[in-house]
């Protein structure tokens, strides 16, 4: 670096704060939450924190929509695209990116309903009262008697959310790495603070942390190698170097592979999925819901951004690998899910299978027909992420409701006969299962249809055939849960259904309504994801 001299003034960074405002609002409210944590008396913190977080999210949602409506059109060759690269090349505020912000904030709002639910634990939150206490110790029961609660979960969630939002729109690999850490670290902490079954919660957090840190390093090393190859960390500049390359690019291949490892880990794709079932099972269920829906969305958009924008010119090099990963992920997730006896683990393997279906959409790298609107890889994956996320949050919300004296009863055998006891709840869960299975007239069907259409149009019809067969496998275990709830006699007393509080009820109802509405009338939502267009480079 040349030291600046008097006659070469440093130009001030051009930052369009308006376009970045949703990101800044979420991060700002998170910091505000920390301040509140310090100044408010303990007794009033929970309610105020929840309200502040909700208000911040609503404002972020509104500003995201405003930013989306305000995106400038880009006259890229023959493709629809809107948005611009902001913040000196660090962040791309474009159609798919802002849409992801909206999705993430919606997921966060829904999950917040579960975070703030205090009905099940006799007026206490689903998080442990004092994380520092040894599980099962006298101090722990003391914390319960004094009605202690960790209200830091709200700012932590917002920090994670801000990391995810940045992750989905980062335009250089360093920003992306920072975002990856900002989203991961709060999640590690959140995983560890379950109120019930604290040991496996802490175990989950440790596993997630160790494996997560390991995969982050892969990503960072890949970024360094990409810099070595292209001379820049900026996705646009890497793209130029990749497109103009004349060598076989061994360094490039290694860089792509390393970055893919980091991203596929967050997605939960085979063979980087091993953390998923343990973490999903151990983490407090509201956190699992948030993580399953939002992390996956952010990571998928980041994956597509890196591979479509930076490595788009080398798609013939990476597509076969993604095909293989997609096939493995779909089949492995579906088969192993059949053997699960725990609801949360089953949903974890189902989320692995869904990562596979999403990768089918990604692997096509299909940009759509010229001068027209059609299903593309980006639009179909965005739609899928939305319907999958909503159904996932709804399904985990129901998991929080089915309880016995020791907290949630996640063993599937305990779910037998749920349909007789509370037909509405079991009906909603059935709906989410059917949506996961991709049965027509649920939103999941249109989602699957979209990624398969993109894949076929992108020339990978064998993947579509494997995908539908894997869907049939997956349908088997989803249907098994339905059978269990409706056709099996309850064991002993059967499951106890805690009367869900208002918040949880609203979350379940919203998720169920969205699943039905976007299944029957997906038109408007499909229009939106298609108009979002391609990534801006």
């Amino acid at each position: 670096m040349i030291a600046p001299t008097a006659d070469t003034p440093i130009p001030a960074a051009q930052i369009d704060y308006g376009a970045l405002s949703p990101l800044l609002i979420v991060a700002g409210v998170a910091v505000l939450g920390l301040v509140l944590e310090a100044v408010l008396p303990r007794r009033r913190r929970f309610v105020i924190q929840a309200i502040v977080t909700a208000a911040g999210l609503v404002v972020a949602l509104v500003t995201s929509v405003l930013v989306y409506l305000d995106l400038p059109d880009v006259d890229e060759v023959e493709r629809v695209a809107r948005g611009a690269v902001e913040a000196e090349g660090a962040v791309t505020v474009d159609g798919p990116g802002v849409l992801t912000w909206i999705l993430l904030v919606v997921f966060a709002l829904l999950s917040l309903g579960l975070f703030a639910e205090r009905r099940f634990e006799a007026g206490l939150s689903p998080f442990t009262g004092r994380a520092a206490d040894v599980p099962g110790s006298r101090e722990e029961s003391e914390a319960v008697t004094h009605r202690l609660e960790h209200t830091e979960v709200f700012p932590l969630m917002l920090f994670a959310l801000s990391g995810m939002m940045l992750f989905a729109t980062a335009n250089d690999l360093i920003t992306m790495f920072v975002a990856l850490e900002v989203l991961s670290l709060p999640l590690y902490v959140l995983c560890a603070v379950a109120r019930r079954r604290r040991l496996i919660s802490q175990e989950a957090a440790l596993k997630y942390f160790l494996l997560g840190a390991f995969s982050s390093v892969f990503f960072l090393y890949g970024a360094a190698l990409a810099y070595g190859y292209a001379g820049s960390l900026n996705l646009t500049l890497i793209d130029e170097a990749v497109t103009a390359r004349s060598d076989s690019g061994g360094l490039l291949l290694v860089a792509m592979a390393m970055i893919a490892v980091g991203l596929l880990f967050k997605i939960g794709a085979v063979p980087f999925h091993a953390w998923t079932p343990d973490v999903y099972q151990g983490a407090p269920t509201p956190v699992t819901a948030f993580m399953a829906a939002a992390t996956k969305a952010a990571a998928f958009v980041a994956l597509m951004r890196v591979f479509f924008v930076a490595f788009g010119g080398a798609s013939w090099d990476w597509r076969p690998t993604i095909w293989a990963v997609a096939v493995l992920t779909m089949i492995f997730g579906s088969i192993v899910a059949i053997a699960q006896t725990d609801v949360k683990r089953m949903l974890a393997y189902s989320s692995i299978a869904h990562a596979g279906f999403l990768l089918v959409g990604v692997s096509a790298a299909y940009l759509g027909v010229a001068d027209g609107l059609s299903v593309t890889s980006v639009s179909s994956v965005l739609f899928y992420l939305f319907v999958y996320g909503v159904a996932t949050i709804g399904a985990f919300a129901i998991v929080t409701v089915v309880r016995d004296s020791a907290g949630e009863t996640t063993h599937l055998a305990k779910w037998a006969g749920l349909g007789r006891q509370s037909p509405w709840l079991a009906g909603a869960f059935t709906l989410f299962m059917l949506s996961f299975a991709g049965i027509p007239l649920t939103a999941g069907f249109i989602g699957k249809w979209g990624v398969f259409a993109a894949a076929w149009a992108g020339g990978t019809w064998p993947l579509v055939v494997i995908g539908v067969l894997a869907s049939a496998l997956a349908a088997y275990f989803y249907v098994r849960v339905v059978v269990l709830m409706f056709f099996t006699e309850p064991v002993g007393d059967g499951p106890t259904i805690a009367a869900p509080g208002v918040l949880t009820t609203v979350v379940i109802a919203l998720a169920a309504i969205a699943t039905v509405v976007f299944g029957i009338l997906p038109g408007p939502m499909l229009d939106v994801v298609q108009h979002a267009g391609a990534f801006v480079r």
Binding site: V369, L373, S374, V375, I439, P440, L441, F445, I446, K448, W449, G450, F452, A453, A455, W456, A457, W461, V464, V465, G467, V468, L469, S471, A472, A475, Y476, V479, R480, V483, F486, F487, T488, L521, P522, G523, L526, D527, Q530
Partner: protein
């Protein structure tokens, strides 16, 4: 609007029943269900009267549904669709009347039992009327849900296993069709505007390999549904565990979707691939005929026996469709209707026998005609129609299928004719064991049919006899609808090699 109204009537009825209080008088619930199905029948008859056989698709409705991917809500009826809509609307009231006396595993769930039946009727009508392949797929898959619950929640022993097996088989088929539909989307989107309309797909340009691939996606789905050997194994299990009414809905109506869709989607959209596949399909059809018949002979469970006879009969229908002659395809379509009637009679009357005896095993019956002659008589008529006795409706259609196939492939037609002999064997053996001889111990409780049961069975029996003598009204509706199909798929009927005298050809047509 007529078709939407027709399909919505039972669906709304189902919705009403679903929310009707469970504590309500079951008789009232049953009356509502019957009334709704009768209204649907009246609507269907009105449609049939207004239908003009020569005018192609009628009662057409077309509206954009999911504009972003080119999906339309498009309905329309041709002669084939009309035939099957009539079959559906005729059989549903019969089935509901038959379900009047069903002893359910959980009697408090009569509401849902009847609601699922009505829902299935509405969806089936939608399937037969859909002219957009995406809409068709959605409804095709949606019919699985009511049937799944009818088998799984309201069936007999082993119902859970049978329901899951039924669902997985049909889902695999449906998903393969989904893959093919995705392929159609990619093709039409590439060609300009994405569309799933039947009329837009008719002239679609596609490569030979693509066409065959897409054809297979569709065909396997329909072959599972129909069912065609070797994809038939779900049917006997499902039929053995379902109630008689459910079995009728499943075999007489829903399975017809498979053969119906072979004509509408496989033959019309992929004519070249259909021709490419026809030698194999014809052989599979003949295997189905013989295999189903042979296994039917060996069954001791009445319901499994009827299921296997259906496998055999579906073999005839598919044989007729893929022979691509005017005579055989018209016969196959007529067979769909007739088989629906004769199987309905068989399933319902054996269902009544099973309910009285408490066992479905043929060996537990014997000599029943002494104490229940009317019951025995109806079983005999149903059985004779199943073995295609001349004078009963299935004879006409089976004869047309065989005669039409004969001009295309003599060996196949000759081997298929063996199916008729085997049919005589399985029906008459079953009749002799259950009805003749000394009264078997334990079978004393097999009462005579009561008035409701006679009323249930009468319409189907009357139609079987009537259509046996006068099939022309249905044929005159079916044949014009098949003309465009055959024009697409075949080079015309084979020319007879022998001169035929005027008098002889008249006989062959009947």
């Amino acid at each position: 609007m007529m078709l939407t109204v027709l399909a919505l009537t039972p669906l709304l009825g189902a919705l009403v029943l679903a929310f009707w209080p469970r504590s309500a008088d079951p008789r009232l619930v049953k009356t509502i269900a019957l009334a709704v199905s009768l209204v649907a029948l009246v609507l269907a008859v009105v449609i049939a009267i207004q239908y003009d056989p020569g005018a192609g698709y009628q009662f057409v409705e077309e509206r954009e549904w999911i504009a972003a991917i080119g999906v339309h809500y498009a309905l329309g009826l041709n002669g084939i669709g009309l035939t099957l809509v009539l079959l559906t609307t005729v059989l549903t009231p019969v089935v509901i009347l038959a379900a009047w006396g069903d002893r359910l595993p959980d009697p408090s769930r009569t509401n849902s039992y009847l609601a699922w039946m009505l829902a299935l009727e509405g969806l089936a009508i939608g399937v037969f009327a859909a002219t957009d392949v995406f809409l068709f797929y959605v409804l095709f898959e949606a019919t699985l849900v009511p049937l799944y619950f009818l088998i799984g929640a309201h069936g007999g022993v082993g119902r859970s296993y049978a329901a899951v097996k039924f669902l997985i088989y049909n889902l695999v088929g449906g998903l393969l069709m989904l893959a093919a539909i995705v392929g159609l989307y990619a093709l039409t989107a590439e060609a300009g505007e994405a569309s799933f309309l039947h009329s837009d797909l008719l002239g679609l340009e596609m490569g030979e390999g693509t066409e065959r691939l897409l054809f297979l996606g569709f065909f396997i789905a329909f072959a599972i549904k129909a069912p065609l050997w070797p994809l038939h194994t779900w049917l006997p299990d499902a039929a053995a565990s379902a109630s008689a009414s459910t079995s009728v809905l499943m075999v007489s109506i829903v399975d017809k979707i498979g053969t119906f869709a072979m004509i509408r989607w496989c033959l019309e959209i992929f004519p070249n691939a259909s021709q490419w596949a026809s030698p194999v399909v014809l052989v599979l059809a003949v295997v189905s005929i013989l295999y189903g018949a042979l296994l039917a002979i060996g069954q001791d469970d009445l319901r499994r026996l009827i299921a296997f006879t259906s496998v055999s009969h579906f073999g005839f229908i598919i044989l007729g469709i893929f022979a691509f002659t005017t005579l055989s395809t018209a016969g196959a379509t007529l067979y769909m209707f007739n088989h629906g009637l004769s199987t309905a009679v068989l399933f319902l009357v054996t269902g009544m026998m099973i309910a009285r005896r408490g066992s479905a095993n043929i060996s537990d019956f014997g000599g029943v005609q002494k104490i229940a002659p009317v019951l025995a008589g109806v079983l005999l008529i149903g059985g004779l129609s199943s073995l295609s006795l001349p004078g009963l409706a299935p004879f006409v259609s089976e004869f047309m299928v065989l005669a039409g196939t004969f001009t295309v492939s003599r060996p196949l037609a000759v081997v298929a004719t063996l199916g008729i002999i085997l049919a005589a064997l399985y029906i008459l053996l079953m009749y002799r064991r259950t009805m003749t001889g000394p009264l078997a111990p334990g079978a004393e409780g097999v009462r005579e049919l009561d008035r409701r049961e006679v009323a249930t069975l009468a319409p189907a029996v009357v139609l079987i006899v009537a259509l046996g003598f006068v099939p022309q009204p249905l044929l005159s509706v079916i044949e014009p609808a098949l003309e465009p199909v055959l024009a697409a798929v075949s080079a015309g009927d084979p020319v007879p090699t022998q001169p035929v005298e005027a008098g002889a050809s008249e006989g062959a047509q009947e």
